[in-house]
């Protein structure tokens, strides 16, 4: 994958630095003052700059020749500055969420019980999301493809962020996370790797299967939803939030996947599209239990001081993914109001 085209001053400085100085040091020149970023959660320039810096820790870029760029201290400084602004915005959003920070001590006798109750409660309210209902009943084929294109930024890398957490936790929580990841990674069968199932769905619609074109067109809020997982997974202090995020993500996946599957059937989309969502109805019903009871409850049993972080991560997942969903729905609604050309 090549570096993406920048879309503003922040991403331009990050991309230019990586391109212009193949052998480092990679000092990003004075990035746009963070004060100019009014709302980082939907600011595509901000999120793209952060996404590029995170990507150095995943598969990297063909046109970044210096293998040391990943741990260039100056790039880490730039990343940390963006992360501070990002985390601050996420915490502000979470603080506006009703019941976003429940009084845990009222929810059970032990931290494990408290966290389990909080996670079950906050995800119980969610039925199929508005996005899933739209895809089920109303979406055109073009809407559906635009949804897949937007989600490709995550699904082509599905579950990779959470793998960074494995060495950061221990005991029963580690075992349960490994069990969940084993399933995400195909359960020993390369053809069942979830990333591959999604790529196959894209290919069946003659859509590209590499990440670059999807990053090039993704909304800021979509990049934010993916960056949120990296923020939590790549910072050990946020390991509790990473696992709370995973629990909320899995617990709000099965019912939407069932609706999206029905939408794919309604539109007569190719079988590989059905297969991806079909797999996730069953898999995520299992993963939800593993994530809430196996991982999060065991984690706070081991490290009770992480209870609030787990709940924060879950609330952040629902809030930021909700924001990304709203942006998509707005786009589809606006598209419907515009008379088709010709």
């Amino acid at each position: 994958m090549k570096l993406p085209e920048p879309c503003g001053p922040l991403s331009e400085r990050v991309v230019d630095t990586l391109r212009a100085r193949p052998h480092g040091p990679h000092a990003v020149p004075e990035p746009r003052a963070m004060g100019e970023v009014t709302y980082p959660l939907t600011d595509r320039d901000f999120q793209l700059a952060l996404w590029v810096l995170y990507e150095l820790h995943y598969r990297g870029f063909d046109d970044v020749e210096d293998p040391h760029a990943e741990w260039d201290p100056l790039l880490i400084v730039s990343r940390a500055a963006l992360e501070r602004t990002f985390e601050h915005a996420v915490r502000a959003l979470v603080s506006q969420t009703p019941d976003g920070a429940p009084a845990l001590e009222e929810l059970g006798a032990t931290p494990a019980e408290q966290v389990t109750t909080a996670l079950v409660r906050m995800t119980a309210r969610s039925g199929p999301s508005d996005v899933a209902q739209y895809l089920h009943r109303r979406a055109t084929r073009a809407d559906f493809c635009s949804y897949l294109a937007e989600r490709a930024v995550y699904h082509l890398r599905e579950s990779d962020p959470q793998s960074f957490v494995l060495p950061r936790i221990g005991g029963a929580a580690k075992v349960a996370l490994a069990e969940l990841q084993y399933d995400e990674y195909g359960g020993g069968r390369p053809d069942r790797l979830h990333q591959t199932l999604f790529a196959r769905a894209l290919a069946s619609l003659d859509m590209p299967t590499d990440l670059a074109p999807y990053v090039a067109s993704a909304e800021g809020a979509t990049l934010a939803s993916v960056n949120l997982m990296s923020l939590f997974a790549l910072n050990r202090r946020l390991r509790g939030a990473a696992m709370g995020h995973l629990a909320a993500f899995e617990a709000t996946s099965s019912l939407p996947c069932e609706r999206i599957l029905r939408g794919a059937r309604r539109l007569g989309l190719p079988q590989p599209v059905h297969d991806y969502y079909d797999e996730h109805v069953e898999a995520d019903a299992v993963h939800e239990q593993l994530a809430i009871r196996g991982i999060c409850a065991a984690l706070v049993d081991d490290e009770p001081e992480l209870a609030a972080d787990v709940v924060f991560g879950a609330t952040a997942c629902l809030a930021v993914d909700g924001l990304a969903g709203e942006v998509l729905l707005e786009g589809w609604r606006a598209g419907r109001q515009t008379p088709a050309a010709g």
């Binding site: 995800t123 039925g127 199929p128 399933d183 359960g187 069953e282 898999a283 939800e288 239990q289 593993l290």
Partner: protein, 68 residues
């Protein structure tokens, strides 16, 4: 011979998690092969994918198997 352990874990208000099973035999004798390391078995009867859980126990608006 292997001494593989088969375990069943209850999830309050949710499914049974089963590890290590090879197949699940339904009431009508239908055999559902187990194709993942851990499977979730429906306990509420609302699933559209019996014997597997599909999270329908969460969907409060949903009573029993609506037309799709």
């Amino acid at each position: 011979m292997s001494s593989r352990r088969v375990t069943v874990t209850e999830c309050p208000g949710g499914p049974l998690l089963v590890r290590g099973a090879d197949e699940v035999v339904g009431l009508d004798g239908t055999v559902a092969p187990v194709e993942r390391a851990v499977v979730a078995l429906c306990r509420c009867g609302r699933s559209d994918r019996l014997p597997w859980c599909d999270d329908s126990h969460r969907d409060r608006r949903r009573k029993k198997k609506p037309a799709s």
